[in-house]
Structure formats: structure tokens, C-alpha cells
């Protein structure tokens, strides 16, 4: 059983990594939002993701024992140890890029968390129940913005089209569980997104169509997040995010 505990710990850590890295990326918008209300909205969404990461990491720390805390997971691991999907670590780009990424991720989490609520692991199910409430209002916002920018001006349409093209190749790995996840899926603990890809795709297609945009037909795909192979952007994100903790180890206030 000890082995299963380790696997759930690794799974919880990955989910924490997805949320923390994306939460940090969104937080970079603070004071750079296009207008005040949107700046606040981005800050709120970032906070929800960082909070979600804290719940996953706290659970991983509890499973790890040895006095570990959420901070060990967030601040004291290196790039290769992070197992987040790559889409989360890409630089924030312009507002269109951020919105398209949020749309992809929000629709994804809407399905993911609904499934995770049924997990046989009660703590993961509890985190999912809590987070799903927040994902629902995130999705309302990213959907509204996608439509608004898609049918907005020539400039906003061009930028949205570019963002769709730039991000599309990063969505594939979201639906490809590795060995660890397949094992946990079979035990009813992890979520099997292979079965939900069609639903995700049909939701995205409907929203993109309403926004008078098009799904790219590009066939390229980038993978590697779950194995710890990252884009060059993650190391820079971690350097900034972890700098205070690493400069003052164990500091408390």
C-alpha cells in the first residue's frame, strides 16, 4: 500500500504543479490588465489557482510525511521535478493569448474536476468539489471574452487567430495519460481524459464558432510536461517565483 500512497502523492503533486504554474502566469498580469476591472478579475483567477495548488500540495505533503509542507513542493523543487502540462508555463503573451489559454484550460477543468469529484480518494474528491465552483465562473469569463474579442475588431480577431494557432499544439498532451495515471485511472482515483476529449473538442468548437473564429488544422503537437521535459520558459518562471524562499531558507513572518 505504501507504493500506492506514493503514486497518489505524485498525482496530487502534478495537479498542484498545473495550478501553481498557471496561477503564477496569470498573476503576472497584476497591474498590467487592460483596464481596472479586468486587472482585478485576473488577480482573482490567479488567486483561485494558487489556492488550488496549495490544497493539492498540502495533500501531497501529508502523504509524503517527514514533516514536509506545501512550501517544499512549491519552492524547493527544480524544473525537471515539475510535471505540469506545458500549456500552463507558456509566457502570458498578449491578452488574446491569455484568454485563449484560459478558455482551453477552463473547459478542460470543467470536465476534469467533475470527474475528479467522483474519485475514490476522498481528499482529491473534496478538492475537486471546491475548485469546480470556481472553474465555473472562470469559464463564463473566458467564454465571454473569446466571443467579444473574436467578433470585436480586425485587430482583436487577428490576435485571437494567432493565439489559437500558437496554442493548439499544446492541447494534445492534456488528453494523454502516462503509465502512472493509467494505473490510478484503473483504480478509480485519477481522471481519464481520453474519454472526454470529444466533449472538450465539441465545446471548444461551438464557442470558437460563435466567436467567428476557426480551429487550426495544424498537426504539430508538443509533449513532455508530465515527464518533466519543459519549454525554456519554466526555469525562468521558477527562478523568479522561488527566489525569495531560496535566498532566505526557512524564513517566517
Amino acid at each position: 500500500m505504501a507504493e500506492l500512497k506514493d503514486k497518489i502523492q505524485q498525482y496530487a503533486t502534478r495537479l498542484g504543479d498545473d495550478s501553481l504554474v498557471l496561477g503564477h502566469r496569470i498573476s503576472e498580469w497584476t497591474s498590467h490588465g487592460p483596464f481596472l476591472e479586468e486587472d482585478i478579475a485576473l488577480g482573482n483567477v490567479a488567486l483561485d489557482y494558487v489556492g488550488r495548488a496549495r490544497m493539492f500540495y498540502s495533500y501531497a505533503a501529508e502523504l509524503a510525511g517527514e514533516g514536509k509542507t506545501e512550501d517544499d513542493f512549491a519552492y524547493l523543487r527544480d524544473e525537471r521535478e515539475f510535471q505540469n502540462y506545458l500549456i500552463n508555463e507558456l509566457p502570458r503573451g498578449d491578452f488574446a493569448f491569455t484568454i485563449v489559454r484560459q478558455l482551453f484550460v477552463d473547459v478542460y477543468f470543467n470536465y476534469y474536476l467533475t470527474e475528479l469529484k467522483k474519485s475514490k480518494d476522498p481528499e482529491l474528491a473534496a478538492i475537486a468539489t471546491k475548485s469546480l465552483k470556481e472553474t465555473r465562473y472562470h469559464l463564463r469569463r473566458s467564454r465571454d471574452w473569446t466571443i467579444r474579442l473574436g467578433i470585436g475588431t480586425e485587430e482583436s480577431k487577428t490576435r485571437m487567430t494567432k493565439a489559437l494557432n500558437d496554442l493548439w499544439g499544446y492541447t494534445h498532451e492534456l488528453f494523454e495519460p502516462d503509465e502512472l495515471e493509467i494505473e490510478l485511472i484503473e483504480l478509480g482515483i485519477a481522471v481519464d481524459m481520453r474519454e472526454l476529449k470529444a466533449n472538450w473538442l465539441s465545446d471548444i468548437k461551438a464557442i470558437v464558432k460563435e466567436a467567428e473564429l476557426e480551429i487550426p488544422d495544424a498537426e504539430w503537437a508538443v509533449r513532455g510536461g508530465r515527464e518533466g521535459f519543459h519549454t525554456e520558459h519554466l526555469s525562468m518562471l521558477l527562478t523568479i517565483m522561488q527566489s525569495v524562499h531560496r535566498a532566505n531558507p526557512g524564513a517566517n513572518w
Binding site: E37, N44, G51, A126, E134, R141
Partner: protein
């Protein structure tokens, strides 16, 4: 026949837990602990305080966070600890429990009233109650002039739990405590 309950099952259960608790004095003591961001609301009113148990010689204070990233939770834990220690209760443990997840339904009726008096539209002041758990876009009662002629400005406000509205009659902007 439609029956609209005056309080949610979640709140009803919570009130029962408190009323039938063996540690009523601890519940009462903790009525003095308030949300640092909305100081008119106690942690009981807002629904953060879930239960008090007594296990192996220790009072277990069980709280439920409102929003995942709500920074007030850490401050609330410190305030609970201080209140207990000031009252010479040293055998305690504060435990966060995520399930059942916090919902606006956990807020007491007194809490809703206090919010309104404080100038924040409470979750019950929506046209059809909070049953759908979705932030409405209009018709929230203005806490200043009591008009329903109001419009959402943004679903996100100064803290995770609030959305921004404006009143089209008295022209005042106001915070609305979101339904989740």
C-alpha cells in the same frame, strides 16, 4: 407545489450541530472571531466554522475555507488561536476540512442582514434566491437605496467572494457577495 425553504439544508444541519453540541461555550467564545476582510461577520455567520469536536483531550475546531485562495484563512486561524488562549483554553487543534465544500448557503440569516447594513449586497438579495449558485447580472437589491434596478460591472471584485455592481437609481457602485 413549490415550497421555498427559509434556510438551506446545509445551514439547517450546521445550526443543529451547534445547538446540540456539548461544547456550546466554545461555539459562543468563537462568535467573537470575525472575518478580517468583512469585520461585521463572525466566522459562524459566514459559515467558516463548521464543527467543534473533543478528541483525545483536545478541542478540535473544524473550519472550511470559503474560496481556495482566500488569504483570510490564515489570519482567521491565528485569531481563533488567540481567542481560545486568551480564555485559557490551551488544549485545542484547528483543522481545515474541505468537505462538504463551503457554499453561500452556509451563511446565517443574521450574517446576510449584517452584510446588507454594512453596504455589501448579501447573497440572499438576488431575485430568485441563491439556488442556482450563479452570480446574476442584474436585479440585485442595492444595499444603499433598496432599488432592484442594478447591473453587474464585473463578476470579480476586491476579494474573491465579491462581484461589482452599480445601482442605476442612486448611481452608487456596490459590492455583491457572490452566490457559489
Amino acid at each position: 407545489m413549490n415550497i421555498i425553504p427559509s434556510i438551506s439544508p446545509a445551514l439547517h444541519d450546521k445550526i443543529q450541530r451547534r445547538n446540540h453540541s456539548n461544547y456550546v461555550e466554545i461555539w459562543t467564545l468563537l462568535d467573537a472571531v470575525c472575518d478580517p476582510e468583512i469585520p461585521v461577520l463572525s466566522i459562524w455567520d459566514i459559515g467558516i466554522l463548521q464543527d467543534i469536536e473533543y478528541v483525545e483531550g483536545k478541542y478540535k475546531i473544524i473550519i472550511t475555507p470559503t474560496y481556495s485562495g482566500c488569504p483570510a484563512v490564515d489570519a482567521i486561524k491565528e485569531d481563533i488561536a488567540k481567542q481560545l488562549e486568551d480564555n485559557k483554553i490551551l488544549n485545542y487543534e484547528i483543522k481545515t476540512r474541505l468537505s462538504p465544500a463551503w457554499t453561500t448557503d452556509c451563511m446565517t440569516l443574521e450574517g446576510n442582514n449584517k452584510l446588507r447594513e454594512y453596504g455589501i449586497a448579501p447573497p440572499v438579495d438576488v431575485p430568485n434566491g441563491c439556488a442556482l449558485h450563479v452570480t446574476p447580472t442584474e436585479n440585485v437589491l442595492c444595499p444603499h437605496c433598496r432599488s432592484r434596478n442594478t447591473t453587474i460591472i464585473s463578476e470579480f471584485g476586491s476579494t474573491s467572494c465579491k462581484a461589482l455592481f452599480k445601482c442605476n437609481d442612486c448611481y452608487e457602485p456596490f459590492d455583491f457577495f457572490k452566490c457559489i
